[in-house]
């Protein structure tokens, strides 16, 4: 696909999503996507410095390279093997650093992309903003709720764009799902079951001779001072989706976490189960585990008339009542018509799962991670953040960290009343 075809397919999809839904709330529910739907303006590429060239950082570099308005101008990593892998993805002339502060001091950047361990997000964001740069940071925002709020406050005070990596907000299927939900296709949404189930230890191999410190650097997700484990690295995505589809924030959270299977010295839970209460009695039921992948990653958005499973890209209507035949008989008699009454059959189980195939949601031909960078590039150019993004990201991070607190304390944790205004 050439650039023109690509652009047309992207715009055509977004046009279909938004043009047909102006009256049903999608524009207000995803205002950032409206902004991102426009093709990038012509002009100099936005120069980005990428801090962290591990697996995720390298994926981001490749997505940035596909945008029409951004370029990787520098890369940085304090772990030599990762930096070498990052260099392989960028032109040889791209500057590289082992210290992010040196990269900031070197100048020549419009923004910084942070793909580092969670516990350093806040510090690196502060330093980048203080250096006069806009920031794109991977989710979750920070290791503490206080630091998440401080990142928002610092960005606003410095008049810099702060965008957090929640790519589902740009995903064509999620946008179509939102449109269908706003149009009432699945009725009143009262429960979202979200899960991220994997069957892998999450432990990365260490180089020969590596000691404890190297383990904590490479396997930072397994240690509590660096990460909240599955809550900040996985659940935060799905909590963003549930807040988004409920168009609300939780009122409280309760949960249970355990190191249930991978008893390898890790400090974070490998098995979590939580309930997030929302206004009106609505609930998100969340689970994540690392020793069974049967049910994978999914959000099941459940309404009175149907269910949406956006990761599968499908929407399901509630089964028509099985008694339709007898209701038809009533109609027939009223109409003076006599015909055979189809009986259901020998075996009827009223509570079995519905197995109807459902209908496909729309798929786009563009990549959501790329699109969020194009949106970031335009935000950097204009100096104005894409509307609504930071609100979603901040509260998703708060929700994930609140869930950790609920599991750690074994208590119901109320939604904080002292969060910063976004």
């Amino acid at each position: 696909m050439n650039d023109r075809e690509f652009d047309l397919s992207r715009r055509a999809f977004l046009d279909r999503v938004f043009a047909a839904s102006a009256g049903v709330g999608v524009m207000s529910a995803a205002p950032w996507a409206t902004a991102a739907a426009a093709a990038p303006a012509q002009g100099d590429l936005v120069r980005l410095g990428v801090v962290g060239t591990g697996d995720r950082g390298r994926a981001l570099i490749q997505n940035i390279a596909r945008t029409r308005n951004c370029a990787v101008a520098a890369i940085c990593d304090n772990y030599a093997p990762n930096l070498a892998r990052g260099k392989a993805l960028v032109p040889a002339s791209t500057r590289s650093f082992t210290d992010y502060r040196a990269m900031l001091d070197a100048g020549g950047l419009d923004g910084v992309v942070i793909a580092t361990p969670l516990d350093v997000h806040a510090r690196q964001t502060f330093d980048a903003i203080d250096a006069g740069l806009h920031v794109w940071c991977e989710k979750a925002m920070a290791r503490t709720i206080a630091d998440c709020g401080a990142m928002v406050t610092r960005a606003r005070a410095g008049r810099k764009v702060l965008q957090i990596g929640h790519q589902r907000m740009f995903h064509p299927t999620y946008l179509d799902a939102l449109k269908r939900a706003k149009a009432g296709d699945i009725g009143t949404i009262t429960q979202i079951r979200a899960s991220w189930h994997r069957n892998k230890s999450w432990r990365r191999p260490l180089p020969d001779g590596a000691g404890r410190e190297m383990d904590r650097q490479i396997n930072w997700r397994l240690y509590r001072d660096r990460s909240a484990g599955v809550m900040t690295e996985l659940a935060t995505h799905q909590l963003q989706v549930t807040n988004w589809f409920f168009d609300a924030l939780p009122t409280r959270v309760m949960g249970s976490g355990s190191i249930c299977f991978w008893k390898d010295g890790r400090e974070v839970y490998d098995h979590v189960a939580l309930i997030y209460d929302y206004p009106g009695g609505r609930k998100t039921i969340y689970s994540s585990l690392l020793n069974n992948a049967r049910y994978g990653c999914e959000e099941q958005i459940q309404g009175s008339k149907g269910t949406i499973e956006p990761e599968l890209g499908r929407i399901y209507s509630e089964d028509a009542p099985r008694v339709a035949q007898l209701a038809q008989m009533q109609c027939d008699v009223r109409d003076g018509r006599k015909r055979p009454i189809p009986i259901g059959g020998a075996t009827w189980f009223p509570e079995l799962p519905v197995r109807t195939p459902g209908d496909a949601l729309k798929w786009g031909e563009y990549d959501e991670t790329m699109l969020q960078f194009e949106g970031f590039g335009e935000a950097v150019r204009s100096g104005r953040e894409l509307p609504g993004l930071l609100y979603q990201a901040y509260h998703a991070s708060v929700a994930s960290l609140l869930g950790e607190q609920a599991m750690d304390t074994g208590r119901i944790i109320e939604w904080p009343k002292d969060l910063v205004s976004v």
């Binding site: 099985r322 008694v323 035949q325 007898l326 008989m329 009533q330 008699v333 003076g336 018509r337 006599k338 015909r339 055979p340 009454i341 189809p342 009986i343 259901g344 059959g345 020998a346 075996t347 009827w348 189980f349 009223p350 079995l352």
Partner: protein
Amino acid sequence: MGTRIELHQFGAGDADALFAARRAIEAVDDALTIHRPSPATALNERLASGGSVAVDDPLLLDALSGICDVWRWTEGHFDPTVGVGEAGQWRHVHVDVAAARIEVSAPVALDFGGFGKGYALDRAILALRARGVECALLSAGESSIAALGSHPLGGKWPLSIPDPARPGAELIRLEIEDRSVSISATVGAGAAAPGRAAMVRPSDGGIVTAPATAVVVDESGAVAEAMSTALIVAPRSAARRLINLRRDCRHLFTHEGVPLVQAGAYGNQAL
């Protein structure tokens, strides 16, 4: 009973006829259920150690009396005993209706299952008749149907029974009037799920897995239920014998492509 029951009344009848029929069904459920405390569960507790037990609940006693009859009519292939000792324990049971007592010579537990569903429809039909209703169709989970009187547009009620082994195909078409229909099968929606729709052979306690559907028409819904179960679990020779006693209203389809048992008089090609 764990199933949806629908009552469709047409034409004349007292204003409270449907309510009375519903109460009749609920009364049967209250008496015969084994899924919550009930006269049936109390009876089972006392029968677990054998001996002679008084039956105080009139519905329970009436149902036990009815089971005595259908156990005999089905040559013992309908047997409501479960879970204690070997299968087919009803032979150890003696019901004295006049004395309102049941006596067992071995530990026994009862599960009224589908019989209870048909019995409930029978009681509902009685309640409707008593209130002047002459035309109604009752459905319990769509596998148990009872028709009161003739079709509201005249003639018999035409029923189309689907083929559980061939989605979209019709297994048999029936016409009934003042009759009940019971459908039992080892195939169809949910039947393959673990623990679902297990048909136990009273003769040896084994689970019937051969694909088969039985459709039985009878004056009594309870009898229809018992007979349709018996046709599924009985050996082929016994099933043929039971069908031949009333070829016009007992049908067994094996879904195996081999006509091992003669079907009824409706000329359906399945057997």
